[in-house]
């Protein structure tokens, strides 16, 4: 596990200059989940929310926006793909079409 910021790639040395990054999640409209749309830099949450509203406002109906400090995000790593996610794919019986059902059966 590592944080999204500074994944040990060595690209960044020392603390970032300027305000910290915030991940922005927007709910495009009622009934949908908040989706990640991008990042803003801001000194605090209030400023991040304001920046996000300017940067990602789609111009449609009022949306709901979440901002989360980037350093608070814990992410899985691509190299974990095998052991971390493998079990789902090799279970054919989890798919409805795996089962032999007579063709005339409806609504199943």
């Amino acid at each position: 596990m590592s944080t999204a910021a500074g994944t040990g790639s060595g690209r960044r040395t020392g603390p970032p200059a300027g305000p910290p990054p915030w991940e922005v999640f927007v709910r495009p409209r009622r009934g949908l989940v908040h989706q990640h749309v991008g990042t803003v830099r801001a000194p605090d949450a209030r400023a991040a929310l304001r920046a996000a509203r300017h940067a990602f406002d789609s111009g449609g109906e009022p949306t709901s926006i979440w901002v989360v400090p980037t350093c608070e995000i814990t992410a899985s790593r691509p190299e974990h793909r095998g052991p971390f996610f493998a079990p789902a794919a090799d279970k054919a019986f989890r798919h409805p079409t795996y089962y032999d059902i007579p063709a005339q059966v409806q609504h199943l």
Binding site: R27, R30, G31, R46, F93, L108
Partner: protein, 346 residues
């Protein structure tokens, strides 16, 4: 689910994250909020966690979602009973996956309930104290392997009939949880049908076993849709709020209509001599449901009520060390990280 801090409370948005629902405004301030709430529902829009909502709407949802969540986790017991005795590795793997899914469905639903300002620990306490219910169907025993098939076909079939409309219910987090659940539910019903079909086309003993299971599960499955409409006190309000989209009797009828032809393919007889097609209505007529039995099971007098609740309580107590160990491990990791950070900056 993250709980954002309320940095920008706009008018009509009460402070508090998804875990802290809108505080009820005073009676005088409610009118415009109520009007907005009702308009949102009338427009078939979703109510989201930070929206203002009437206290009764919130309380009804908590009760409904909690009961649904409890049903998922209690529902692991009747089928779990057959995990070690599944007749083949294939059937065992399928059943394991299915029981595991029910646990996951419980998780989605407890999370949805938590967006209404309750905590799952609270809800579990209420379940364990017998103050919140779960579906009456899980108070029946699984006596033979064929019951696993009957549960998949009938019980999951009835659940799907109930749940598909809920994917469009008015409360966003509940609707979204239902979408996920319905997607995963589709293999459950089909594995049950296939299992029963295998038995009902097997030896004479297997055929009898399949028929016996259907005999025992048919009527309780019909009761899953709840009391008849004229005896369902909260139905009208729940339908007005769109946390219920079809009446109990409508869904029950739909289920019966779907099951009759499926039973013919299975080669089993549904245990209702009055079941026949009514040309005029365009539906199957059916016999009288034993509502006295339904009430008895709800009251706690079903065949397995005591056993199910006792098992759930025991699992909760016996699982305490796992929760404690996880917390202790997290604390240890945090202390190590703090130490490393202190060391690095020194």
């Amino acid at each position: 689910m993250p709980a954002p801090r309320p940095e920008a409370a706009s008018p009509g948005t009460a402070p508090g994250g998804p875990g802290a629902p809108a505080a009820a405004a005073g009676p005088a301030g409610d009118a415009p909020l109520l009007e907005r709430f009702e308009r949102t529902i009338a427009d078939n829009q979703r109510i989201e966690p930070r929206d203002w909502m009437p206290e009764d709407y919130r309380a009804s949802l908590v009760r409904q979602i909690a009961q649904h969540a409890h049903s998922e986790i209690i529902g692991m017991q009747p089928e779990g009973n057959w995990l070690t005795r599944a007749p083949s590795l294939r059937r065992k793997a399928i059943l394991l996956a299915k029981v595991q899914d029910e646990a996951g469905h419980g998780l989605y639903l407890y999370s949805a309930a938590e967006t209404l300002g309750v905590d799952r620990a609270e809800l579990l306490d209420l379940l364990h104290a017998g103050r919140q219910r779960y579906s009456s169907i899980f108070n029946y025993p699984t006596l033979t392997w064929a019951d696993v098939g009957a549960i998949g076909w009938l019980v999951d079939g009835a659940a799907i009939m109930n749940q598909v409309p809920l994917c469009r219910c008015s409360y966003g987090p509940y609707a979204r949880a239902m979408v996920r659940i319905c997607k995963e539910e589709s293999f459950h019903q089909r594995q049950g049908f296939e299992l029963l079909h295998t038995l009902s086309h097997g030896t004479e003993a297997q055929q009898e076993m399949a028929q016996d299971a259907v005999n025992r599960w048919w009527w309780p499955s019909l009761m899953m849709f709840g009391p008849p409409d004229d005896a369902s006190p909260h139905s009208a309000r729940s339908m007005a709020w769109k946390i219920k989209l079809f009446s109990n009797d409508e869904l029950r009828q739909k289920f019966i209509d779907v099951c009759v032809p499926q039973a013919e393919v299975l080669g089993v007889t549904l245990p209702d001599p009055e079941l026949r097609w009514n040309e005029e209505r365009g539906h199957y007529d059916h016999g009288q449901i034993d509502w006295a039995e339904f009430r008895a099971v709800l009251r706690g007098d079903g065949p397995c009520n005591a056993q199910r609740l006792a098992h759930r309580r025991r699992a909760h107590v016996e699982g305490a060390w796992v929760r404690e160990a996880a917390a202790a491990y997290a604390a240890k990791r945090a202390a190590e990280t703090a130490l490393r950070t202190a060391g690095a900056s020194a």
